[in-house]
């Protein structure tokens, strides 16, 4: 069950990872187009930024799954498995979960509200920028990010709990 939920983070992460390559390609395209052919489109420049934001928003849970969100490991590195599990369990419940829930609640109207991004058919602030629905879609990722993090956080908390309980069972 937990492994299956892990796979959601992994799947999303591996998909958005391709965007990093597309960012590189698109950046080169924009420069070559502009410098060699005098061809420039605002939306192509905006596309790199768009992909960049999508990468770090949708990659957040995937990064959490691989435990690559940097920790201050001066002390953590020396803790036992069980103590580490306690840090992860309490941290997930007291720090990670509230952060995700607040971001979700605060951003909901911003994206889906009556005056939100979708309802106002938001497009780029620049003429010739990315067309609808690029921006509302990107802003929807502001909700998907905390939602995916909550899911992965729940998986991590469950794992931490079973580590703690197994230790109790062993002694």
């Amino acid at each position: 069950m937990l492994a299956r939920l892990d796979r959601i983070s992994d799947f999303v992460g591996r998909c958005v990872a391709w965007l990093t390559l597309l960012m590189v390609v698109n950046t080169v395209f924009v420069i070559v187009g502009r410098d060699l052919f005098g061809f420039g489109r605002i939306w192509m420049q905006e596309l790199t930024t768009w992909m960049h934001a999508a990468v770090f928003l949708l990659g957040a849970a995937y990064t959490l799954r691989h435990d690559e969100h940097v920790r201050v490991d001066v002390f953590y590195g020396r803790l036992s498995h069980v103590r580490k599990a306690w840090v992860d369990l309490i941290g997930t419940l007291v720090l990670l979960a509230p952060v995700c829930i607040v971001i979700l609640l605060q951003s909901w109207d911003y994206v889906f509200g009556p005056r939100g991004s979708w309802a106002s058919v938001e497009t780029s602030s620049q003429a010739g920028g990315l067309p609808f629905p690029a921006y509302p879609l990107l802003k929807s990722f502001m909700l998907l990010m905390p939602a995916l993090l909550l899911l992965q956080g729940a998986v991590n908390a469950a794992r931490a709990w079973s580590t703690i309980r197994n230790k109790d069972a062993a002694t």
Partner: protein
């Protein structure tokens, strides 16, 4: 409210020490303080409503798009084993003389600047790559480990390093804020390119000083840095082989840096071209399979996500810190210090130095610089000079026993035969060089500000 703001800062440090991921520790602690404040009626809940706007500001920041592209470039170069072959050919080039291998390590550290910007990563890489060879050659453990720690942290302050991109962006908004606060509504700007240009000469000066020190050690005590045994036939190579190994990465890094410094490309564009160049380089070396490409993309995604989640966490922290008037508290404290701007500057540098024992460059850039930057800049400090001083100060902190990050990481990959005291002894001369460099920059700020002025005419 003074106490709430300071309490939040201290609480965040304590929570960070538990080892829970930095991004969520920062934001989570801040939100708990905000909830408490709202319940007690001392915190205005409307502060939190600006969160989506802040978040979108981070998503839409054009300057920071350079970060994933530089990360992509750095990881690709790593996967193409550029560092190994660089170290290999450089040590063959200089390695015949005593001290040669140490100098090779120093130069590779300098060129690895486009790394992920995490102190640990470069020090570990350098340690794994060069420490075994140095010990096998009979280098004194202190000299070997000192050289690796110093060279491994060097990449941070030499452009095009990622932390300079982040620092440049943060300083740029701090500078705007400082000028707006003084009633200047057409503020001067400072860019990432400015900071790159400003850090170039001090960075190279540091390399020069390190080099002089290594040459001095090799001359005074050749047994500490011996040349290879004459029977070691592997150590001879043709000039062509050296040229091939060196030329491509040097051209790539030179082109990226040149494009930015000449103003022909923005850091983002240069990073994109650099990443594409690194891919081509990897392909030419036969190191690019689909599997490698996947690994490069996925690691880029994770590093990028890690960096930007910290930025998001730090901006939530800053929001609540401001809500408790933390910025006013810091402003009052810094402006009331004896010694005016010099006193304030020295206090900030000392605080950053101490924070450098527990926090990495990225966290300090995102959490501390936005708080103290506007105050110091409003007091009249030059933003580029300040940025370079911060960078060298933090690098020194990472090297300083017993808490320096670099020492921990090297300890982790060093064999047990090397005593921790060897590492401590080894970094001492380099710390002295760092302090000397800070002194030189304080006495001659032009070392940092001259080149950006020439290039960008600012």
């Amino acid at each position: 409210m003074t106490f709430a703001a300071l309490g939040l800062f201290l609480a965040a440090i304590v929570v960070l020490m538990t080892g829970f991921p930095v991004a969520f520790a920062l934001a989570g602690t801040a939100l708990l303080f905000a909830f408490g404040g709202i319940a007690l009626g001392v915190f205005d809940a409307t502060f939190l409503t600006s969160m989506p706007n802040r978040l979108f500001g981070i998503m839409n920041n054009d300057t920071l798009v350079a970060v994933p592209l530089f990360v992509f470039m750095g990881i690709t170069l790593e996967r193409a084993r550029i560092a190994e072959s660089l170290l290999d050919s450089l040590s063959k080039l200089f390695g015949q003389r005593s001290g040669g291998l140490g100098i090779a390590v120093l130069i590779v550290g300098m060129l690895l600047a486009a790394s992920t910007g995490i102190v640990g990563a470069t020090v570990v890489t350098m340690g794994l790559l060069s420490l075994p060879t140095m010990i096998k050659r009979g280098y004194s453990p202190a000299v070997a480990t000192g050289t690796i720690c110093a060279s491994g942290t060097l990449g941070q302050i030499i452009p095009p390093s990622i932390v300079l991109v982040l620092l440049g962006d943060v300083l740029s908004s701090a500078y705007q804020q400082a000028q707006l606060a003084q009633g200047n509504f057409s503020p001067k700007t400072v860019s990432v390119g400015d900071l790159f240009a400003g850090a170039l000469l001090p960075g190279l000066a540091l390399v020069g000083l390190y080099l002089i020190w290594l040459l001095f050690v090799a001359w005074r005590d050749p047994a500490a840095m011996p040349p290879p045994a004459p029977s070691d036939s592997k150590a001879r190579v043709s000039a062509g082989e050296i040229l091939r190994a060196l030329l491509a990465p040097l051209l790539l890094i030179g082109a990226v840096l040149g494009a930015i410094l000449s103003g022909k490309a923005t850091p983002t564009e240069a990073a994109g071209v650099g990443a594409a160049g690194a891919l081509i380089l990897a392909m030419l070396r036969g190191a690019l399979t689909l599997e490698t490409l996947r690994d490069i993309m996925q690691r880029t995604t994770r590093v990028t996500s890690m960096v930007f989640m910290i930025l998001i966490g730090a901006s939530v922290f800053a929001l609540v810190f401001r809500g408790y008037d933390g910025d006013v508290v810091v402003h009052d404290m810094l402006t009331q210090l004896p010694g005016g701007v010099v006193g304030a500057f020295i206090v900030v540098m000392l605080i950053m130095f101490v924070l450098g024992f527990v926090l990495d460059f990225i966290e300090i850039t995102f959490v501390v610089v936005p708080i103290v930057g506007p105050v110091l800049l409003a007091m009249g400090l030059d933003p580029i000079w300040l940025g370079v001083m911060i960078a060298i100060n933090l690098q020194t902190s990472f090297l300083t026993p017993p808490f320096g990050f670099a020492l921990f990481y090297l300890r982790g990959v060093a064999p047990d035969s090397i005593r921790t005291t060897d590492i401590y002894r080894g970094v001492m001369p380099f710390i002295a060089i760092q302090l000397l460099m800070l002194g030189i920059l304080a006495a001659f700020p032009a070392l940092a500000t001259w080149l950006p002025g020439v290039i960008y005419g600012s």
